[in-house]
Amino acid sequence: MRSKLQEFPGKGSFAHGVHPPGKKELAADVPIEVIPPPPRVILPLLQSAGAACIPKVKSKQQVLFGELVAEAQGFVSAPLHAPLSGIVQKSVVTTLPNGRHVRAIAIQAEGEQLQGQALWDEIFGGDWPKQGLQEFDPKRIAEAIARAGIVGLGGAAFPTHVKIMPNEKKTVDTIMINGCECEPYLTPDYRLMLEAAAPIITGALLAARATGARHIIIGIEDNKPKAIESMKRAAAGTGIKIAVVKTKYPQGSEKQLIQAVTNRTVPLGGLPLDVGVVVSNVATAAAVARAVLKGRPLTHRVVSVTGGGIVHPKNLLVPIGISLGELIDYCGGMTADAARMIAGGPMMGFAFHDLATPVTKGTSGLTILTHKEVEREQETTCIRCGRCVDVCPMNLVPTRLALAARHKNLDLIRKYSVMACFECGCCAYICPANIPLVQLVRTGKTMFLADRK
């Protein structure tokens, strides 16, 4: 394996990190299937980072596929659109996978629905030009993205128009399209790179046009040779480069990917923008292309339903707002030894228990793990082995942060830079004493924030 990236200043990898079992084979070779339209969808008003949106529809109102149902509130917010045609019902309160209760719009399906191949074609089909995108005005691109309600589909769910826009204050020289998918088990981005490479490329070109970036780089881990092949083919003649980076968790984290490819370090507490980079996930790029070229909003997304606890692991194109329980049913249900349901992947995803929990824009998958997969030894006291220090990609001392949180010692919490932690889970994964380090660090963050108020 190449240790150094050709063409790029980065080393192709970042410092520290872990190698959890990838388990991509469970779903990697299953082509994306379009799930039949559900009888009802629940659209939480808060699906992204930033402010919740404001409903624009009333109970019993008729809505059409793609119609605006809730408006953005402020700049860092994203509107919502109906993923199917139907009747708006009384507003409900639903639980997000992270346990938050939020108000939601419920839509009962009614009338003719687009489905199967027709729906796929509507979303990913047609022509995706690689040339002539210069005619699009950068401002217009950002506006189209904002109107379409696009948020980061890799999981962070940050409104995309805030990142992909002409920025007067900071120059952007590089657009990085993130196809790493370092989270174990999950494969939606992988499948998308194989099955819908064209819109990703078009979206990347548009993002570069909007931000004024001269370089476009697609980062993919070296355990996905087919995706690398597919993206290379689709990118031919566009000047877009593919950076093949080392397979290591969390390679797909923005700061780590930027480090690996460009050798730039995002300042602590800063954004990729501070080093002239905007990172966007592959699925987001595809959504951008669709929004700008076809004026269509984000209503569907690809998710993986995977893990040892699901009978038939699959990759599905699903309407936002479908319940996670329906996805499980569609994949043949859970096995007898299923032990945990996770919205997202096993390293950073949220365990949930309510099958009515809806898929949101940021849900990249559903991982059902078995008893064997989640099994761990009993917690012992910290043996101060320093493994957590050795793996922390942010170069923190997790054991100290955990201790400080346990003892409610704010001075220590501050001294060990609690807010630099992005909860990747490497420390808790490796810890031989099985200390719930991430949970404790999170407690520390809460204490830190409470103190600042």
Binding site: P21, Q259, T265, P267, L268, G269, G270, G309, S323, G325, E326, I328, D329, G333, M334, T335, A336, A338, A339, M341, I342, M347, M348, G349, F350, A351, F352, H353, L355, T367, L369, E373, V374, R376, E377, T380, T381, C382, I383, R384, C385, G386, R387, V389, D390, M394, L396, V397, R400, K415, S417, A420, E423, G425, Y429, P432, A433, N434, V438, R442
Partner: protein, 324 residues
Amino acid sequence: MKAEQTQYTPVIHVSPAPHLSSRDLTTRKMMRDVLLGLSPVVFMALYVFHWYAVKQLMICLLGCLAAEALFMKMRAKSATLNDYSAAVTGIILALSLPGAAPWYIGVIASVVAIGMGKVVFGGIGMNIFNPAMVGRAFVMIAFAGAMGAPGYEQIHATVDVITRATPMDAFKQTGAVASLDSLFWGLTNGSLGETSALACILGGLYLCVRRTASWQIPAGTVVTAAALAGIANLVHPESNWTALHHLLGGSLLFGAFFIATDPVTSPLTPKGKFIFGIGVGFFVMVLRLFSGYPEGVMFAVLLMNGVTPLINHWTIPRPLGAIP
């Protein structure tokens, strides 16, 4: 929802991320690894000291396990025997004692090691000082005779090597220099585990490769000791105790690989570990060259254990992207 009617109703638990945990890394497995790493040393001890080694190992092993069970019971905590750490303490303690030391020394050292070295701090992970060295230091002070040169050297011993002086003592007393060969293979008198440099290197490298021991510690210790021993040789070129004798003789290698590397009592960061190793090597050589004791590993380790909280404090790594 319909999913509840699937033919199975699995028991679902909610728990915070991450939902995976590295299987091959647990406290127990790490301790078991240490025992495996110690095996060549134990083997050589048995080969060289026969019955004396068997006896001392049994006494300390049982002593530590019993002490752990007893103290834990007194503090109404479930015994941690199954994490093997008491066994590790027992074996390291035995290997750091002279084979001919009377039975009560092993017993007392074990009780002190577990009781004062570990349990009063709150069990494994809470102690500041290496438990085995705490036990050894106690008996060394309390039974200076039995732990000094006469404890090692016994005319009537049934095993031949024990009738001879330890190489370092012999040199201090008479200026006789042991052959590097004998130090390397370990066919000399000494503490049970220290005599064979080869066994220490084999077991130690195993631990470093497995990353159960952090290589920075033995590296720091050995490099520093070698450098200082080299300087000492330059200052006193007439001395026949060369730098290699310093490295292969005494308990330097045993200490560097097996005692100093105890994770609990050494620093957290790679840099801190290296500093710690350098400190151990430095004090070993200072004690060897300038103190009345022929050997200084135990005190050097205890001293650096005491400095470890400070080293941790000095070596807080800079978070990624933080301004220097």
